[in-house]
C-alpha cells in the first residue's frame, strides 16, 4: 500500500499538474490542439472507469460501449430539451448510464468468467441494434442524434431569445469548444482520478481485489461478493456515461456506432496497454492510443513519400508501400499488432514495463536482496 517514494497527495498533485499542463508539454509532439486534448481527457475517464471494474474485480466486460453511448444520448437530449449548459448534460449522462449499468450488471453478474463477458457483449449489442432500429425516435437511427433549431430548450428559452443558427454548448456562458472545453474535461478527469484513487486505497477497493484473487475465499470469509461487484460495475458504467456525455459536450451529437462492440474492445485495449489494475496506466493507454490514432491516420502515402525522399527512389517506393499498410486507413492494422505485442510481451502493460526498467536501474545500484523486498512491497495497485 505504500510506495515509499511518493504519497498519494503528491501523486494526485503531480497528476493534476500534468493533465492541466498538457497543452504546454504536448506542443513539441504536435498534439496540443484542443480536439485531441479533449479526446485524451475523455477516453482517459472511460479507461480509468473501466479499470475500476476490470482491474480490481477481474470481470472483463465487453459491453462498456453501451454506457458510453447512452451517456452521449442523454447529454444531447438534455441539450435539446432543457439547456445548452454542460452541467445538467453531464449529470443526465452519468445518471442514465448508471441506471443501465445497474440493470445490465444485475443480470450479467450472475455469471462469471467468459459467460459474464458474453452476457455484457450481448446486452451491448442489443442496445446498439435497438439504437439503430426501433429506438430511432429517441436516437435518430443512422443519422445520429443532433441539435436542431426547433428544439424546445425549456430552461434556456426562459432567459435568452433563441438566436439564428444552432446554439453551442456552454458552461454558464463559457463556450465549451476549444481550450475551455478541454479544461472542463480535464477537471472532470482529475476528479475521476481522485475518486478512483480513493477507491483503490479503500477497504471497498481491497474487497474488489479479493474478488479478483479468490472469489471462493471471499464467500467462505462471510463476504457477499455480488453487491461489491455490482457496485464496481455501476461505478465504471457511470464513468463511461460521463465520458459519453463529455463527448457530446465537446461536439453535440450522438450516434449508435459509439455503442458498437469495437468501441468496447478499444477501452479494453487502452486499459491493458497502460496496465490493468494500475492507477495511471489506463490513462496513459488511452492517451497513447488516441495520439497514435491521430498521428497514424493523418499519414498517407504522399506524406510518407516526402519523409523517405532522401532514399533512392526504388528503395523509398518499397518502404513507402510497406509502411503505407500501417498508416492512414491501415491504422487498425497497427492497432491489432499493438494489441498482440502488448499481450504477448508485456502482459502488465506499460506501467509494468516502467517498473521493470526502474527495478533494473535500482538493482544495478543496490544489493539484490534489498531490491526483492522493494518489489514485493509494490502492490498491483501502485
Amino acid at each position: 500500500m505504500k510506495n515509499g517514494t511518493m504519497n498519494d497527495l503528491t501523486r494526485f498533485a503531480i497528476f493534476a499538474g500534468v493533465v492541466l499542463a498538457m497543452p504546454l508539454w504536448l506542443e513539441p509532439l504536435g498534439a496540443n490542439y484542443p480536439d485531441l486534448l479533449q479526446k485524451f481527457a475523455i477516453y482517459g475517464i472511460f479507461a480509468i472507469g473501466f479499470n475500476i471494474l476490470f482491474g480490481l474485480t477481474g470481470y472483463l466486460s465487453f459491453g462498456h460501449a453501451a454506457f458510453l453511448g447512452i451517456g452521449s444520448y442523454a447529454a444531447v437530449w438534455s441539450f435539446k430539451l432543457f439547456t445548452m449548459n454542460a452541467i445538467p448534460a453531464v449529470i443526465f449522462g452519468v445518471l442514465f448510464a448508471g441506471l443501465l449499468a445497474y440493470v445490465i450488471g444485475f443480470l450479467s453478474l450472475r455469471r462469471t468468467g467468459i459467460y459474464f463477458s458474453i452476457l455484457t457483449l450481448a446486452f451491448a449489442q442489443m442496445s446498439y441494434n435497438l439504437a439503430y432500429s426501433v429506438l430511432t425516435p429517441i436516437t435518430n437511427g443512422e443519422t445520429g442524434l443532433q441539435l436542431s433549431q426547433q428544439d424546445p430548450r425549456i430552461i434556456d428559452s426562459l432567459f435568452v431569445e433563441a438566436g439564428a443558427g444552432l446554439p453551442s454548448t456552454n458552461l454558464f456562458g463559457m463556450k465549451m469548444s476549444g481550450y475551455p472545453g478541454f479544461y472542463f474535461c480535464a477537471v472532470m478527469l482529475i476528479i475521476c482520478f481522485f475518486i478512483s484513487m480513493r477507491i483503490f486505497r479503500s477497504p471497498f477497493g481491497l474487497m474488489l481485489k479479493g474478488i479478483k484473487s479468490n472469489q471462493n475465499r471471499m464467500n467462505y470469509t462471510g463476504l457477499n461478493t455480488r453487491p461489491y461487484a455490482l457496485t464496481a460495475f455501476v461505478i465504471s458504467g457511470m464513468y463511461a456515461g460521463l465520458a459519453g456525455s463529455l463527448l457530446a459536450v465537446t461536439d453535440p451529437l450522438a450516434g449508435a456506432e459509439r455503442m458498437q462492440w469495437t468501441a468496447s474492445g478499444e477501452v479494453v485495449l487502452m486499459t491493458i496497454l497502460g496496465g490493468v489494475g494500475t492507477l495511471v496506466g489506463p490513462m496513459i493507454g488511452a492517451g497513447l492510443i488516441k495520439y497514435f490514432e491521430n498521428i497514424f491516420s493523418a499519414f498517407n502515402n504522399n506524406v510518407l513519400a516526402d519523409i523517405f525522399s532522401f532514399l533512392p527512389d526504388s528503395v523509398s517506393e518499397v518502404v513507402v508501400s510497406v509502411l503505407g499498410l500501417f498508416v492512414g486507413s491501415g491504422w487498425h492494422l497497427t492497432l491489432g499488432l499493438l494489441f498482440m505485442v502488448v499481450v504477448i510481451f508485456l502482459p502488465g502493460g506499460i506501467m509494468e514495463g516502467i517498473d521493470r526498467v526502474i527495478s533494473k536501474f535500482r538493482s544495478s545500484r543496490q544489493p539484490v536482496a534489498d531490491n526483492k523486498t522493494v518489489s514485493s512491497q509494490n502492490q498491483p495497485g501502485e
Partner: protein, 252 residues
C-alpha cells in the same frame, strides 16, 4: 456437561448413483475439538462441504447454535460464525499477507457487505494492529508485505489459519491442517491449535496424522463408506475393533 452446539441430523448426499454420505448423525459439544478420521473416500470432505454450504445435502439438516445452516449461502454461514480451512489453501495469492488477513478483519467488523469506498485503508490502524497480531501468532509477521502466492505450502496453510482466526469463528472446520507440513511445522500448528482451544472455540478437524489427532482431539468419530462407524474419546476409538478393521488395521 457443556451444551451441544452443532447438530448434523440424518445427512445424506449422493453423487449420481454413488452415495457419499449415508444417514450421518453427529453432535459436537461447545468448546471441544472433534476429530473425524477415516480412510480415503470415506466422505470426510463432503461432510465439511455440507457444513459450510458448498454442497447441499439431499436429506437431513445441519444446525449450529440454533441456526439452520442447510440451504444457506456460504457467506451467510460464515457470518453466523463458521470458518473453514481448506485442504488446498484458499488464500488471495496476488495480495500481500497483510491484505489477506485484513479482508476477513473487515468481514468481521462490517458484515457481508458495506459500501466503504471513501474510508482509507491507511486509516484503519486498529484493524491493522489486529491483523499484524494474528500474523505474529502464526509466525508470519516478518513476511507481512510479501505476496501470499510466493509462500511455501506450509506457510500458506498457516496464513489461511490466520485468516480464519481473525474472524473469531465460533466453529472452526479444519481439513487436514497439517498435510504436507514438516514435523516441526506440524508441532507448531498443534501448539497453535491448542492455544485456541483455551479460547473456547469449537473445532472439527479432519486428519490422517494420528499424532495430530491424539494431541488435539477430545472426541473422535470414524467415518467409513459414508457412515459413522464408531465414536468416543481417542482412547476408546483406538481400541475399537471395528475401527482397527476399517482404518487403523489397514494403516498399520
Amino acid at each position: 456437561m457443556e451444551k451441544l452446539v452443532l447438530h448434523l441430523d440424518n445427512i445424506q448426499k449422493n453423487f449420481g448413483g454413488l452415495s457419499a454420505l449415508k444417514d450421518v448423525n453427529l453432535q459436537v459439544e461447545e468448546g471441544t475439538t472433534h476429530a473425524i478420521i477415516g480412510p480415503n473416500g470415506a466422505g470426510k470432505s463432503t461432510l465439511l462441504n455440507v457444513c459450510v454450504g458448498r454442497l447441499k445435502p439431499d436429506m437431513g439438516k445441519v444446525t449450529f447454535d440454533g441456526h439452520e445452516l442447510t440451504g444457506r449461502k456460504p457467506h451467510e454461514i460464515a457470518q453466523i460464525g463458521v470458518a473453514r480451512v481448506f485442504q488446498t489453501p484458499e488464500i488471495f495469492p496476488e495480495l500481500s499477507l497483510l491484505e489477506n488477513v485484513m479482508i476477513p478483519a473487515f468481514s468481521k467488523r462490517d458484515g457481508a457487505f458495506r459500501l466503504n469506498g471513501y474510508q482509507q485503508l491507511s486509516a484503519q490502524g486498529e484493524l491493522r494492529a489486529e491483523a499484524e497480531h494474528i500474523l505474529e501468532d502464526v509466525g508470519l509477521q516478518e513476511l507481512m508485505h510479501h505476496i501470499a502466492g510466493s509462500l511455501s505450502r506450509g506457510d500458506k496453510r498457516r496464513l489461511e489459519l490466520a485468516m480464519c482466526l481473525i474472524l473469531r469463528p465460533r466453529l472452526l472446520l479444519l481439513d487436514e491442517p497439517t498435510a504436507g507440513m514438516s514435523r516441526h511445522d506440524t508441532n507448531r500448528t498443534i501448539d497453535l491449535l491448542k492455544q485456541i482451544k483455551s479460547r473456547g472455540m469449537t473445532k472439527i478437524i479432519i486428519e490422517h496424522d494420528m499424532h495430530v489427532v491424539f494431541s488435539l482431539a477430545d472426541r473422535v468419530s470414524v467415518l467409513a463408506r459414508g457412515q459413522i462407524i464408531a465414536g468416543g474419546t481417542p482412547e476408546e476409538v483406538r481400541e475399537d475393533p471395528k475401527v482397527k478393521e476399517a482404518y487403523l488395521g489397514g494403516a498399520h
